[in-house]
Subunit: 284 residues, 2 copies
């Protein structure tokens, strides 16, 4: 009889926990989880069997899913290297790829195992308590293979994501980092900055609270994201984020000037153009 | 037998249509609606009885609800003045108050009728097709009375909003305009600016589309708002919006510098502070 396939999930939070839930109950697999913090391990234990140590979790694993923040991936790769199965597939789900790959490429032989991945799935809520078996369904998962990644390994990674209903797409790591800098990292800074000013102003003007509607909540929702994850991102994808931020600030300065002009026709054209771009995002 | 109370709704879009739906079916009232555009009148006719002209709609009205954009309120007030009932209560729902009040105060005797209002209810979808009887339920409605507004009139306005489940709150008009400049008007510009850059970038990089997740959609959703309404706002509340926009740009410049520092501890503290402010908004 064939032995069970061991899948280790390191970092059983929202993303890791949702993977665990999506995989749970499948025949022929053995799930093993690990969290750095005791309190997180306790939450994880409601979803899957938690190992007694990191080493225990990854030992002889056939698949390792690194679901911790961008800043911790390289260290985990180094630690697991001597313990994992010879043909183990290792994937992460963190949202910065170039820097993670640079670090991974310094670990000898790691390209035989590691396929950097980033699912476009997430919420502002973090932690295993919010895990959801359907989180990855129909979601794009970027895979940014290293130069030496074997085609067979990439294909296994692709099949893994397909098996949980996601849509894997191969993309150049630099391009990936640029894309998410604009669609995710910059928006996080913008929402944070708005939230910060709101906080300052609200202390002086308590009635400001009454003027918060759904629009403001939508715009600032992502600012409630996990500080640890976002500080890793701000440090590890800084240059791509900064490039867009500079562009953004210049556009804002132009809008500031336009406010002085009070030219209704000009604003009509601008908001009309922007609306049609935004409406395009809701179509598939 | 007492005659029916006539309520006229001018501008039967999302806000006006939702008012109509909330009032519909009440005993003792007669609803009459009007839209400037024929196509909007046709949509309105599914909800309430549409008059044959603006004049017809407001003639002998006991309550007039002006649900068109900020830029059109003064003109409507002038037009209706000779036609409405002697003790008619007139309210608008537009999101700029100081400028509207300045214009209204130039119309002799208007303070006996007009109570400027602004419900914190809205969506990025506009038009009567999206009207919802429950739109105002538990929503704050700012009332910014003119200096000469009779207490009795204000009290009638308050009762009106309460009767449809909303929460009326009196606020100074200048303060109101400052509040919504920060919680609604500035966010609209920020979302528009981000959407614009996305549009530019996406033309060059089609794969950017794949990197759009729920976060980006949340942040930019309001950019799909009605261009006519938003261009009125950009022109009529320009100075309050500009004040916050300047502050915002300065904060962004500081964040841009921080990106160069790559100081994780600093980012951790920043994102932690912002998260707790944002989480506070979801508590009541």
């Amino acid at each position: 009889m064939r032995q069970k396939q061991k899948i280790a999930i390191i970092g059983v939070g929202l993303l890791g926990g949702s993977l665990a839930k999506a995989l749970k109950g499948r025949k022929g697999i053995l799930l093993s989880g690990w969290n750095h913090r005791l309190s997180s391990r306790r939450k994880a234990a409601r979803i899957l069997s938690v190992a007694s140590s990191f080493e225990e979790a990854v030992r002889n694993a056939d698949i390792v899913l690194l679901c911790s923040h961008s800043g911790s991936i390289a260290q985990s790769l180094i630690q697991m290297k001597p313990l994992i199965n010879d043909c183990a597939l290792v994937m992460d789900v963190s949202s910065v790829k170039s820097e993670v790959m640079k670090q991974a490429s310094r670990i000898p032989g790691m390209q035989r195992h590691f396929v950097p991945c980033h699912p476009m799935a997430g919420r502002e809520k973090s932690g295993a308590l919010f895990a959801d078996a359907g989180l990855y369904r129909d979601k794009i998962v970027f895979m940014t293979p290293l130069s030496g990644t074997p085609a067979k390994l990439l294909s296994r990674a692709r099949n893994f994501w397909k098996s949980i209903g996601a849509k894997p797409v191969v993309l150049d790591a630099k391009k990936h980092d640029s894309h998410v800098a604009l669609t995710s990292h910059l928006p996080h800074l913008l929402a944070s900055c708005l939230t910060e000013i709101y906080g300052d102003e609200q202390r002086r003007e308590p009635s400001l609270r009454l003027a918060v509607g759904n629009g403001f909540k939508d715009v600032t929702r992502i600012a409630a994201g996990h500080p640890g994850m976002w500080s890793d991102i701000a440090c590890m994808n800084a240059s791509a984020i900064r490039r867009f931020l500079t562009r953004y600030r210049l556009k804002l300065a132009a809008l500031e000037k336009d406010l002085g002009r009070k030219n209704k026709r000009r604003w009509l054209a601008y908001f009309g153009r922007v609306r049609s771009i935004r409406e395009g995002l809701d179509l598939k």
